[in-house]
Amino acid sequence: MPIHLCVNTQTPLVRFSPGYKPGDGSTGPPSLSDLVEERDYQFTPGGVTRMVFPLLKRMVDDGVLKCPYWVTLNPAGPERLVADGITFSHIRLQDRVMKGYGHIKEDMWKTLHGIGKGAMPHGWPLWEKEYADYTYYNRLSSERLLALDKELDFDVFYIHDFQQLPVGHMLGSLKPKVFRWHIPFDDTIIPPDWKPFLLTYFKSYDLILVSCRKYLDALRKFGFMGHVHYIYPYIDQGVYRRSKRSELEAFCAKFGIREQDRVILVVARMDPMKGQDLAIRAFAKVARSVPDLKLVLAGNGSFSSSSHGIGLSKGAHWLGKLQRLARRLHLEDRVVFTGHINHLELQAAYERCEMTMLPSWLEGFGLVVIESWLYKKPAVVSSKAGVADIIVDGENGQLADPGDIDGFARRISALLKDEKLESRLAESGLASSRKCVLEEGLKQESEMLQDILSGQKRKGDGHAI
């Protein structure tokens, strides 16, 4: 029997362009296939587009799901939207509420990532006046889920990401509720005072999913005694193909990359947590001895920091800082900021680069490493990324501690100098990528849903792959 699933995320699949005018809905919800990418909308960067959407699409195709619904925040979108058999129900917020919600969410995000640890520079979000806006958005989401459930009688609710955590409690439904925690979970950086808040809401779910074993262990140490498993994030490798020569040339021409240039690629949204500054500093150390080396920083702000999204300005601020840093290090002509790139350009970027870097201070997982491996490009990865769980340093990737500029620089130099090492890491990286492809995710997620619906609880913790 196909499962009737309702998903809830903050981040929408697509963000609509300012020029897009949603109709009155009298002719039914618009279909994404009738709209034009870039003109009407852009796919939102991150896990929602690369992981959740392909999963649901495949589950619909395979008959695992029937008519899934997806409730998400989308201030500029139509009330409903249909894409590949999935119906999106969009939540809109007034600007004032959106601002308050964004403020609390950002404070929570910073605290959960250990920014300003011990100092509590952002106050205690639960008692700021904007917490009312945060609660408002979550209650609006849970009410929408309940209204749809009344109409459509779902089998299971699948809530994604930390900012939606209260939704499970607010739903109050006895139907199964699964929560996927996408960001890192590190019990050593979460203030102990957050325990009651987080544990109260975690307990309202029947299952918590995290992205790797170390987060599961941390959640246990934190005191959560309920059901928790881990499933590695995954991507649909089918959508990554080799670039045509013309696409490659267009990409290089657009971003000033010459034939002789050796390229290091960082794919990440513009955010201090992503450590692009470390990448520039490590690059500066290597660039002196490799004159044709270029660093390409691909990505712009997230949904939260986009003016079409929640409107937080951190993406733009961070970009400015990075540009100033590159100028100060006299690297302005060797560090390329691409901003948002479309899928064809992303493919070309992977194709053209020699290696990738993931220098994040903390990273929920790091699917860009899997993408890099699919193109047989070795990756130098922060040991604090979730993907480090499947990397053995020097075997299928290179690990360096975040902030260790010399460590990153040494590993980049080693790869640039040693072709054999580069190709060995690339080959074994490709083999490791199979742990994080859609087929694997589909298998794990389908089993998880079937288990939870049949009332079975897996023995022990975790979900070994």
Partner: protein
């Protein structure tokens, strides 16, 4: 000499009219009571409603029977004997019911708490009018008569139980729940000095009906001695807020 109309038909008609009036009074009472008394424990509300209905019907029946020319002193005697008999027969049950009423008010535990009483300990999974059911660590069900709670010391061993305040709230079904909650949280924020900041205020929807929501607000206080003051202050805020929201909704509908 009375005509057959005066002798037979008139009393029967009067009897029927009194029964009808009694029914209307009882119906109206229930309607008004349900609408008026939404805040509070649903069980207490149910008992008050039932007792009042029985009283209305008893008075109606006595008056109606009198119209038929029957001796009501006999009927009153019968009702009295039945009442006394019921009280004697159900002493234990009544004691438990009374204890339940007092325990609701004075004994600090609720469903979900872990308590210890008279050598038994476990999680409270049900509080009914007669007994409180505990689930022990060995997964056994223990039924504790409610009367025991006013005789024996009860220990609530739930962590932080002394801090917790739960405030039942009832709002009309037409209220914009997200907006209500958001305004409630803003109001509570003003009392944060007295609340344990580690615990956010949590609003739980206990019951959803077409015409109303039964909600419970849970807060954690810093000082147990301030419990009553805080509860009363927050209750006052809630009443103001529900009134404002009601007016707003009315205006919107108009």
């Amino acid at each position: 000499m009375d005509t057959p109309y005066e002798q037979y038909i008139m009393p029967v008609v009067t009897f029927a009219v009194i029964i009808l009036v009694t029914w209307i009074v009882s119906y109206l009472f229930n309607l008004v009571f349900v609408g008026w008394y939404r805040i509070g424990m649903s069980l207490v509300r149910l008992h008050v409603q039932r007792i009042a209905t029985i009283v209305i019907w008893s008075v109606g029946l006595i008056l109606a029977v009198e119209q038929l020319g029957l001796r009501i002193d006999l009927l009153l005697l019968l009702i009295g004997i039945l009442g006394v008999g019921t009280i004697i027969a159900a002493t234990d049950v009544l004691r438990n019911l009374a204890a339940k009423y007092f325990s609701d008010v004075y004994i600090p535990f609720k469903t979900g708490d872990t308590i210890r009483i008279s050598g038994h300990s476990g999680k409270v999974i049900e509080i009914n009018p007669v007994s409180t059911v505990l689930l022990t660590e060995n997964e056994e069900l223990v039924s504790i008569p409610n009367s025991l709670f006013i005789k024996e010391p009860t220990v609530n061993i739930t962590p932080q139980a002394w801090k917790e305040i739960t405030i039942p709230i009832a709002v009309g079904g037409q209220v914009d729940l997200p907006a209500f909650e958001s305004r409630l949280i803003k109001s509570i924020n003003k009392f944060k000095l007295h609340l344990d900041e580690r615990f956010p205020p949590i609003l739980t929807v206990k019951r959803r009906e077409k015409n109303f929501y039964e909600l419970v607000l849970t807060l954690m206080i810093k000082e147990p001695s301030k419990k009553d003051e805080i509860t009363s202050e927050i209750n006052r805020k809630i009443a103001e807020l529900t009134e404002q929201m009601k007016r707003k909704e009315k205006k919107k509908t108009a």
